[in-house]
Amino acid sequence: MKKIILENNIPVVIKENKNTPRIALCFYFKLTEPEKKAGLYTLLNRLFLQGTSKRSAEDIAIELDENAIDCYSEMKHDFIRFKLQCLNEDFEKGLDILSDIIKNSTLEEFEKEVIKLKGEIPAEMDEPKSKAMDGFYKNIFLNHPYGHTYTKILEQIDDITKPDVEEAYKNILTNSPKVISIAGDFENKDISELMKKYFHDIKNKKETITNIPAPTLEDNKIVKIEKDDAAQAQIIQGWHVPTIYDKDYAAIMVMNTMLGSSGLSSRLFLELRDKKGLAYVVRSSYEIYEKAALFNVYIATEPKNIKTSLEGFKVELDKIKNVPVSKQELENAKNNLIGKRQFFTETNLQQASLMAFYEDKGLGADFEDKLIEQINKVTIEDIQRVANVCIKEPSVLTILAPSEYLKEV
């Protein structure tokens, strides 16, 4: 892995992988200003492939598809990132289109994109799981941009104007800190020259100070969502926990692996699925944001099992808080976590994506190696301690189910 810095101070992290047919590039734009109205950044993100001063939306779609180039943008809570992936021989063509999209998007299709998004949200909400998740995130990040879910967007989208989106575009283009990462077989390409050619004229802000505040959660909350024809109840409970910058990051990852994030041998899987037959899907997750993180547990189960499932969660959560884990279980979880990271960094796109993620967070593109060291150092005491740090009131519990089953909750 190596790193070059362009004249405009944009860092480019590079990893060469021989004998791979497709090159991948990620371009990160950190969001440093809170989203003023729910949906503003979502709309901006969607408008990126909808036309530039050189190419219409249809031109872009055809040019990409004719060359089998994957190029798209994604909006996460703390960044907008572009991903480019194509056959090695088409890399320069891909860069040409990507740089055009980044620099020259016209945002002309604003009205149409608003209409499209307003149509897609109800379609998404027809899936019970999406509806439950929407209710969960909206409440655990109440009054915070991280809680700008689909239904929140529907409430506010009509207040967003084209000048709002233009301003946001201008702002991220000039004021946001940026990172580029590339992985692939470069053959005879001079990556440094290519980056200079296509991206030297983009402004970069070196400082990574963000004005997005840290979200808070004051009280326990139960969110009930009625869906009378649901065959399963959707249950999700979450807590605000330390994020990636915290010394406990690695320990929380291991705890999450042990409890329910990984495969068929985690505690929640064994106890709630294998032994009690309560669910097909049951898991825990640890979600990272710039200014927050969540630890969540999730189960989808027959509605009459809601109480049993909640009791099952409580038993397992209390256990990890109160009973030291065995040395063997800890070692298994660490090896599981470390081994699986290879699986999640197998392709060039996955590698580029992870390098840019770490670089954007200021942790360095090679943070993965440090993280593995930290994982190896996690102790039995760490697991119990972070379980007590993470799983404590307040929490948000969201349950979607037919109304008759919600009464007793």
Partner: protein, 445 residues
């Protein structure tokens, strides 16, 4: 090395070495694929799925897949998952109409130790499952709340419930049921809660013995390893002990409906969902399958596709939220689909607009430019599927199990290169007539 083992090789696009195919005297096939990197994948594909099911045992292939993880005579339930996951493995399985497959993807470990242990445990699981009564759980009447031992039967029933809440799955299943009339493909792979609640252990064991035979199993290893050593290892661990081979039934190929069919379902939703399906060619009719794959790219894959551009981007008024096409290959005849989500009060208009777009393609209105784009996309799909050991193995598993022939991988690119626009037009006309279609719509109550 075992005697009488037949070896062939094929050139696999984007891999740096040929893929080796070994067929043992008992019919068990072993495929070795080289891919640089630290990860290896070992999988076994069994030629059974809903293709071998009937009304009485529908769902048994998938239920058995769950129960294969419940221990062997050597290792009790949980050992396999726990041991391999503690080495960073991804272990899982999947069941579909023509196949059931089991896989492990993991880092090789020091001196390839993890890898060898994975081969041992995987072979043990494939050849010697106990399927214990207490892991299946007692048979019960659906709705009986007094059942105390809720084990794997309930897990599968929860999986069925999960699918009942998915609008797309609901309409796919209904369309599928009416596209096929005789063939077992008409049944949903996962089956019904009533069957899963009551099917006896003996029936499941019999099903295992009938179908998990040497001639029905292909074992695939993908990664960077010593081929001779790993071939020996797989042969040693896959000791079938003279197990008799299966006589797979030959099913009559279904013919498409001759009159357009339409079904309407209702649910507590706020938008409309639709799927229109057509029967396609058998999987090893590579020419017609490629033709339909080309049409799929032109009509409904990606943002430059006809359906997306004409019905969403350039629409006179907003009707569709989603509109795309898809194509599935099955041994005895696949499916071509158009799927759409639309505004609930625009149902008639939505269905008419889809028909209009389809008719243009059937009438031969396809440009050379669209045709070239589709060919490039299909070629690039090979590059994509050669990036991960798990994807390489899945692609090989598909060709070996569904098409019965890995040579088709080589033939695929040759056939694609020889395709003409005229061929594509003829295939559209042959397979995608409105009168041969089945549509299911799900709209708000």
């Amino acid at each position: 090395m075992e005697n009488n083992i037949k070896k062939t090789e094929i050139e696999y696009p984007y891999l740096t070495k040929p893929v080796e195919i070994y067929e043992r005297e008992n019919g068990h096939k072993i495929i070795l694929a080289h891919k640089e990197g630290g990860l290896v994948n070992i999988s076994s594909w069994v030629k059974t799925g809903s293709i071998n099911e009937n009304d009485a045992n529908n769902g048994i292939s998938h239920f058995l897949e769950h129960l294969m993880f419940k221990g062997t005579h050597k290792h009790k339930a949980g050992y396999f998952d726990k041991t391999l996951e503690a080495k960073g493995a991804i272990v899982n399985a999947a069941t579909w109409k023509d196949y059931t497959f089991y896989y492990v993807t993991l880092p090789q470990g020091p001196n390839g130790e993890y890898f060898k242990e994975a081969i041992e445990l995987h072979a043990d699981m494939m050849l010697d499952p106990v399927i214990p009564e207490d892991e299946i759980g007692p048979a019960f009447q659906l709705g009986d709340d007094t059942v105390s031992q809720k084990r794997e039967r309930h897990v599968v029933i929860e999986e069925i419930r999960m699918r009942q809440d998915q609008p797309w799955t609901k309409i796919y299943n209904n369309t599928n049921k009416h596209m096929y009339t005789q063939h077992p493909y008409k049944r949903d792979v996962i089956g019904f809660p009533e069957t899963i609640a009551s099917i006896p252990r003996e029936t499941i064991l019999d099903y295992y013995k009938t179908h998990y035979t040497p001639n029905n199993i292909t074992t695939i290893v993908a990664g960077d390893f010593d081929h001779e050593e790993i071939l020996e290892k797989v042969i040693k661990e896959f000791d079938f002990k003279g197990r008799a081979n299966a006589q797979n039934p030959i099913h009559k190929i279904d013919t498409p409906t001759q009159e357009e069919q339409y079904y309407e379902l209702k649910g507590k939703i706020s938008t409309g969902f639709a799927i229109t399906g057509w029967l396609g060619p058998v999987a090893n009719n590579i020419k017609d399958n490629i033709g339909l794959e080309i049409i799929n790219v032109i009509l409904g894959e990606g943002q430059s596709s006809r359906l997306y551009q004409n019905l969403i981007e350039k629409a006179d008024e907003p009707v569709f939220n989603v509109v795309a096409s898809d194509f599935y290959n099955f041994k005895d005849g696949g499916n071509f689909f158009i799927q759409a989500n639309f505004k609930a009060d625009k149902k008639e208009l939505a269905l008419n607009l889809i028909k209009k777009e389809l008719q243009k393609v059937v009438d031969g209105d396809i440009t050379e430019r669209e045709f070239k784009k589709a060919c490039k996309t299909l070629k690039c799909n090979f590059a994509e599927s050669s990036e991960r050991v798990s994807d390489i193995a899945e692609n090989i598993g598909y060709y070996m199990t569904v098409c019965d022939n890995l040579d088709l991988v080589e033939k695929y690119l040759e056939t694609l290169d020889s395709f003409t626009l005229e061929d594509v037009k003829n295939i559209a006309k042959q397979y995608l007539q409105i009168k041969n279609s089945v549509t299911t719509v799900l709209i708000p109550e």
